[in-house]
Subunit: 510 residues, 2 copies
């Protein structure tokens, strides 16, 4: 009888805890709807009220997460006999609670205040190409974020601590190791490509493409891949993104008359994110079991669909006829190989991260990673950022920005106080290759299936191995469960070397 | 020194209070965005998650409103020396706090539970034309709402108490007096119209009107009236509505090929609501001083623009050329008088409230008011609703529904537990006439200005007299300040008698 009573008690405590967790999740998703609306639908004049609405939601969420009741429930539950799933929920909430509760409210508010003021300052500095007007704000943000890290854990490297906001389990040393390796192995590959005489069909999509027709084509590609319109929608946004939950996962893209391929690939990328979200277990909506794992895993899903599917020959065997149908006068003579080459061109002189190809992209990330890590560790002064940035671009990519607008002022992240976010873009791409390789092992003739437009086996594999687990496993455990191996860059490097070795006819790489 | 210290204390208390009030308001507006999105943008499959998000927001809001801290702050502030504006804020929050705090949490949750279950039951009952399947749910809702009213004030008529959720200051006896008078004076007027031989140009808008072009025309009408697109947007929704705040007030309408005039008038109606919202003081966003007064006043703004502007000859002098431009093949021969007649036709046999004309509309309201009042007072059994409904339609409008689907099952309100809402539709129309008369007194040649498309003087008058005051005054004070008189149905009755007397050539009414 005694043990039954104890079990009952545990279960009451747990259900009180889950009520709070669900409330937190729902308020978070409500904030997500406000964010989506602000980017996609809101008239510009709505900003002052919307900022206050979002900030009220953050404050309320923060209060629930850091409340004494939450602290007590977590303490009690950690002494209880819980199921594995319950333990996973407690683990995730504990981590967020501790990180939030250790930072004084004043500092939270100051960071939020300074970063919301930083946005327009950064925007103007970029427009005016004047880093010096943004530098004092950036310096303040670096200080505040160092302070935040110190509150969370005074005994650890502050960049390591901040990085865990975006990827809590792989560890910054993994990020460092992987990014170092990417730099070491991709710089020579990129060099070799620059020296190649291969003549790729990069002009396949030249000309002007009507944007309304492009939108129809974006809907076609989502139809082809199996996007669930009952649980999603497509809109346009200045910076494509996806958002939502397993009942309602929306994507956005953007159209420009001379970038039809860019719009398509952005759509496929966001489809990857949305498909992950839609694959989360519906019965666990509201708890970490129904929430996606963090940035690395999310980005692995978008990159897998974008790069390993969307940029593959097999995909274009399926999809090129649709493009020709929508644009009969443009691509009549184009072959699958032409489109494949156009979709995988390695740009010679692109300075802009969001316009980068699959390969040089990672050098953009390495630059940002090295700079933000050194800023937060106190090894680099803000005033030196432009020169260091330009030097690194020259060293890794052989190009040097003429202006800070096209250099260290191009991204919004730091003005939000997001230090530690950039590496997850590369970590995700690396994981995409590892997962795709495992999927190829498990699914017979995956390539042929893609060429036939049969995406269900891949979709099912990803749901089974990744999506349905929500945040039940830590990132490293999830990868181990899905692939039977530790997280590794081997597959990504093999993939790009063989792919680009063949495309650019590089003897050393095929 | 002592009194200065006391003033400081009051000011600290007040600012702590205002922080909470702003948080409440912002969470409320966040809920509004979720509601708008659900009606206008959300894919259907999103419902389960959205319901939980909205319910989390309601719970959090309810907790803040009814918290001990809020009760203490209100008590303290009622002992302080406050400015008139501060007193108004305290008055509004006190009222909402008391109403919410007096109802036990269990009952709140049960009402929310039962009414969310009621919606699909009502929908199916309406589809199947079977009142008996909805009756038990309706009975339960009536019981629960009576119980709620008893908690709020056990010494007063429960319908009176519920009515104050929608119109807190005019009093149910005013509603009763006005609605009785409308019934007494409009039934004979409607009878006279039915017997009139006048031949109105009711076929002016016959044929099929392309809905894309209708949407352009809806944008034209909003442009003509001066809608601020930087702070609003137009979309379609199955049931037109408006929502938002003074920075972002959106409208919706709906289009059907054979109802171009209906779409236009719905657009003008929602424009009236949005214009009120946009006229609220921006500097007071977040407190009752920046919130609209309740349903009566809001509906007065939509009806004023819809009926007194949108259905006037002067307006059509301005706008008919635009309609002819958009639909050149349809309305070439139509005169301003033709359109005026078409826009003011009194329907012979319409059973549906939302499709009613300006005049018979109020009989639809009277029927609902009398029935819901008697239900809540315990003077009518749910099972008798269909027969009473049909008898009243026969008595007041001379038509009898063949089915409950076209009778007592047509409106969603009761399935939401909204008893006391309906009367505010009529109270608002009545107020619209009173306000428009006052505006005509103050603005020289208002009619000519409308005909010239100069809506600014009317807009300014409404902002000055109504919008900018937010909820600073009670409804009755606001009306007295704006018109110099008590709230009265005189102007409305004069207006309809003279308008319809002329239109239908009624000797007794001109």
């Amino acid at each position: 009888m005694a043990s039954e009573a104890a079990a009952d008690e545990a279960s009451d405590t747990y259900s009180e805890f889950i009520d709070k967790v669900e409330r937190l999740t729902n308020l978070g998703h409500a904030g997500g709807v406000l964010g989506w609306d602000q980017e996609v639908m809101m008239p510009e004049g709505g900003t002052p009220a919307r900022s206050k609405q979002r900030s009220a939601l953050s404050t309320v969420t923060h209060e629930i997460l850091t409340s004494d009741e939450m602290a007590e429930l977590l303490d009690e539950l950690e002494d209880e006999d819980l199921t594995d799933e319950q333990e996973a929920v407690v683990r995730e909430v504990r981590r967020k609670h501790d990180r939030a509760a250790r930072v004084p409210q004043d500092l939270v508010e100051e960071i939020s205040q300074v970063s919301s003021e930083a946005m327009p300052v950064w925007k103007e500095a970029r427009e005016e190409d004047d880093f010096s007007t943004f530098a004092p704000t950036l310096e303040r943000l670096v200080e505040l974020k160092r302070e935040q890290a110190e509150h969370i854990d005074p005994d650890r490297d502050p960049y390591e601590v901040l990085f865990e906001d975006y990827e809590p389990y792989l560890g910054v040393e993994t990020a460092e190791r992987v990014l170092d390796r990417l730099r070491e192995e991709l710089v020579p590959l990129i060099d070799a490509i620059r020296e190649s005489d291969a003549d790729l069909a990069t002009e396949t999509f030249s000309g002007e493409f009507d944007t309304d027709t492009q939108e129809e084509l974006a809907r076609d590609v989502l139809d082809t891949l199996g996007y669930d319109w009952d649980h999603g929608r497509l809109d346009t946004a200045p910076h494509p993104f996806s958002s939502g939950n397993q009942f309602d996962a929306r994507v956005t893209t953007r159209f420009s008359p001379d970038e039809p391929l860019g719009a398509l690939m952005a759509t496929v990328h966001e489809f990857g994110h949305a498909t992950y979200t839609l694959g989360l277990p519906r019965e666990d909506y509201g708890t970490p079991l129904g929430d996606s794992r963090d940035m690395t895993v999310h980005e692995s899903q978008s990159r897998l669909w974008e790069n390993h599917v969307g940029r593959s020959r097999a995909f274009w065997e399926r999809f090129l006829p649709k493009v020709k149908e929508r644009f009969p006068d443009k691509l009549d003579d184009a072959s699958v190989d032409d489109v494949y080459e156009a979709a995988n061109e390695v740009y010679e002189d692109n300075l802009i991260r969001v316009e980068a190809d699959e390969l040089t992209y990672h050098m953009h990330i390495v630059v940002r990673f090295e700079i933000e890590r050194d800023l937060i560790r106190g090894d680099l002064d803000v005033e030196d950022v432009p020169e260091v940035w330009n030097d690194k671009y020259e060293e890794y990519l052989g190009i040097r920005p003429d202006s800070d607008a096209e250099g260290c002022l191009q991204d919004i992240h730091w003005s939000h106080g997001d230090f530690g976010y950039f590496p997850t873009y590369s970590l995700g791409s690396v994981l995409a290759a590892q997962l795709f390789d495992a999927a190829e092992d498990d699914i017979e003739n995956l390539d042929e299936k893609v060429a036939e437009g049969d995406f269900e086996p891949l979709h099912d594999w990803l749901t089974e191995e990744i999506h349905r687990h929500g945040s039940r496993y830590t990132t490293d455990d999830l990868i181990r469960e899905a692939t039977g191996e530790e997280y590794t860059a081997d597959y990504f490097l093999d993939y790009v070397k063989s792919k680009y070795g063949e495309l650019y006819e590089l003897d050393d790489y095929q």
